[in-house]
Symmetry: C2
Subunit: 436 residues, 2 copies
């Protein structure tokens, strides 16, 4: 049975629900969706290397997590319920100071496992030692856009080093020649990167034809500091530095004003909503989803890292987004289920420049199967509602990325080794930090 | 294997984590916890009818859901993303008008199944046709406090009928003589029950020595209406009618002011926080948890019904509570993980007058086992943090209530029949409503 995992092969998913109708899905051995619909089974059974019984499942596009720090899964539960600055300076940074490349490898392995289990097939990552993240993603079989977190702290010497690190990562990822793994520039945030650093990142991304991944206006303080330091709001500053482009993903966006939302829309930026992290860290304002949407920005969804969430379940994140928007902006009709799911699928794929996110012939086969015969999907008045409001990632039973089976009937090969390796790495990391 | 389910028997849970330590738990065949600790295995192996391998699991008290309308699981996903009044008048009430006793039976069966799967062993329910709810709870094997939703709409004739319905339910539940099922008075809310109705419920509950279950200050409008109608805030009105007692569970409590919180604390009331429902229906204010806690009220947790949540997963609810409190009251240290878990366990049990909610020798054995070797519990820096922030109910692998095994290694006997019965009842209900 193990030989069906991770292989290029033609797959027939028979008798599955697609957009409320019974259908079959044929996946070619080049990893693309060949056909979807009634009767596809009859035409393609002979060509299929394996047949997956989709009876009792809903097929969805693989989910897309547009903002995370995957390796931080090693820090899951290490510190919570603290003031942001104390949390960072007393807990997170001292631990991160001891991180080694194998830690990033194991943390990213653990994160990929959790994503596969909960139906995410692509993610947008920012961290460091990203060569090790790339290795983990390559083994896991999912997609990732990887960026080195560029932080110059307004120091010219540091800036040079960050430019080199960014160039090195992009070169390394190109050398891997893995179509599932691409690089992005990762200027951390307007409050940690100088305008010169931002401009360099923008220009470099343009030349290299890669995306940009940045944090934007997570807290009120950083907005106020930006105005005090630069005399303008963060999105305006970023725009002047060339950072706002159709290939840019801006995470958080809690404190954007209406004019900044208009600007993001005009530039075609993707705004990644991270509601759980924002609530846990008490940002005190929810992303103005309706302003961004009305302005034509591409609003998508991300979990943020495991240190501030503390999981990578995009089903839970979609629910939290849908209920937080209603609650904070005081309107129970805001962000209905279907739009929350679009944020987690089609919009996310668009944000990362992927052709996935919809189940269409000719597109890469990133497909997940969600179990119907469970309490969370009973009754099935409305599948979109159940998926967003009732299910969590545990309802995913099968995950396919790029036409390769990564989880089948909740079995992921090698799971035990990943859990053990990540546990050991996390324990050792804490030991090193505490004995230093 | 099936003969281990639902039976009175002596159980040894060997090698399980309890409060961060390795221990064994011995459950007597009278349904109580006999012993907990290291070495318990050696003393009690001979007495055990069955041995459950707890290696790789964390033992917790069964969770307590202090506010729900279980049978509304049949309406899961039927209507969402609407204005409250439209949602009720166009969707929920027309469907409820066609509810029959078998619908309440199947809806409650489905709810109990979901609760068993997600680690809840006791719940506080308010609905109608509650004799059927009692039948479903009896079969499921969990605990419930059942109340008839008393709604007189300020009409003396209706009030008499509601008094009789309340008396009948209490009499019926007494006649069942099932220690797991008790009755409560269920005056729906200050805006649906006259002061005379409230007084009758308070007096009846006192005489019968039963609890009271009521909705309190969910929306700003009902508070303003109460002041306009009665010249006082809702909690003050309830207190004058005798409703605020140590056996009262008041659900929602979003719009209490500080003086009302002090009053609830003084009376020893249990306040049930229902954060997901409040966010989804855009109540625009989160329960003032810190005021209630400081006043000495017993703050516990509930999911509300499936029509406004849309699941009964108390793990997800604890996380939503912890992050909503931080977000709304703008303080990332509010409601830390340990207190969120206490709300879902010990505080909930106290609210329902149960001796469960803690793992102590001599108390009833309501025990759940949470899987450790999963991504959500890796690494295990802090079990409390993982349980609240990272896991959902899918991490529960075994559920024991009153010393009876209801789920073992994720198997619940009869699950398929319950899902099919509830699906059929829900479809038929919609058909009847649409053809009328």
């Amino acid at each position: 049975m193990d030989d069906i995992f991770g292989r290029q092969q033609a797959i027939l998913i028979a008798d599955v629900q697609v957009n409320g109708k019974n259908a079959d899905i044929f996946v070619r051995d080049d990893g693309t969706i060949g056909a979807i619909g009634e009767g596809v089974r009859k035409q393609h059974t002979g060509e299929a290397d394996i047949i997956i019984d989709g009876n009792g499942a809903i097929a969805l596009p693989g989910l897309v997590n547009t903002h995370t720090h995957a390796a931080m899964s090693l820090l899951r539960g290490y510190a919570d319920d603290m003031i942001l600055q104390d949390w960072l300076s007393q807990k997170i940074w001292p631990l991160e100071a001891h991180l080694t490349p194998p830690d990033v490898y194991w943390g990213t392995k653990l994160a990929c496992l959790e994503m596969i289990r909960t139906g995410t097939t692509a993610f947008n990552d920012m961290y460091f030692m990203m060569e090790e993240a790339a290795r983990a993603v390559g083994e896991a079989g999912i997609r990732a856009v990887l960026s080195y977190g560029f932080i110059d702290l307004f120091d010219a010497g540091k800036r040079e080093a960050e430019c080199r690190a960014t160039e090195n990562l992009v070169r390394h990822i190109r050398s891997l020649d893995n179509p599932r793994i691409t690089a992005a520039a990762g200027p951390h945030a307007p409050y940690t990167v100088s305008p010169d650093g931002l401009k360099w990142c923008a220009e470099f991304a343009r030349e290299e034809k890669i995306g940009i991944h940045i944090h934007l206006s997570e807290t009120e303080k950083e907005v106020n500091d930006c105005i005090a330091q630069h005399g303008k709001r963060p999105a305006v500053l970023l725009d002047e530095c060339g950072i706002l482009t159709p290939r840019t993903v801006a995470a958080h966006c809690c404190w954007l004003d209406e004019a900044e939302c208009t600007l993001l829309g005009k530039r075609g930026v993707s705004a990644s909503h991270n509601p759980t992290s924002n609530m846990k860290l008490a940002t005190n304002r929810a992303m103005p989803w309706h302003w961004l949407k009305d302005a034509g920005a591409n609003v998508c969804l991300g979990t943020d890292g495991c240190a501030s969430n503390n999981n990578l379940d995009m089903f839970e994140e979609a629910k939290t987004a849908a209920i937080l928007q209603k609650f904070f902006w005081n309107n129970p009709t805001l962000l209905p289920a279907q739009e929350a799911l679009a944020m987690a699928t089609a919009n996310g794929a668009r944000g990362l420049g992927l052709a996935t996110g919809r189940l269409l012939p000719g597109t890469p086969a990133d497909i997940i199967l969600v179990a119907v015969h469970e309490a969370c999907n009973t009754p099935l008045h409305n599948a979109m509602s159940n998926i967003v409001y009732s299910c969590n990632g545990g309802a995913v039973e099968t995950t396919i990325c790029d036409g390769r089976v990564l989880m089948l009937n909740r079995e992921v090969p090698g799971e035990k080794e990943i859990l053990e390796g990540a546990s050991a790495a996390a324990a050792d990391l804490v030991r090193r930090a505490q004995s230093s």
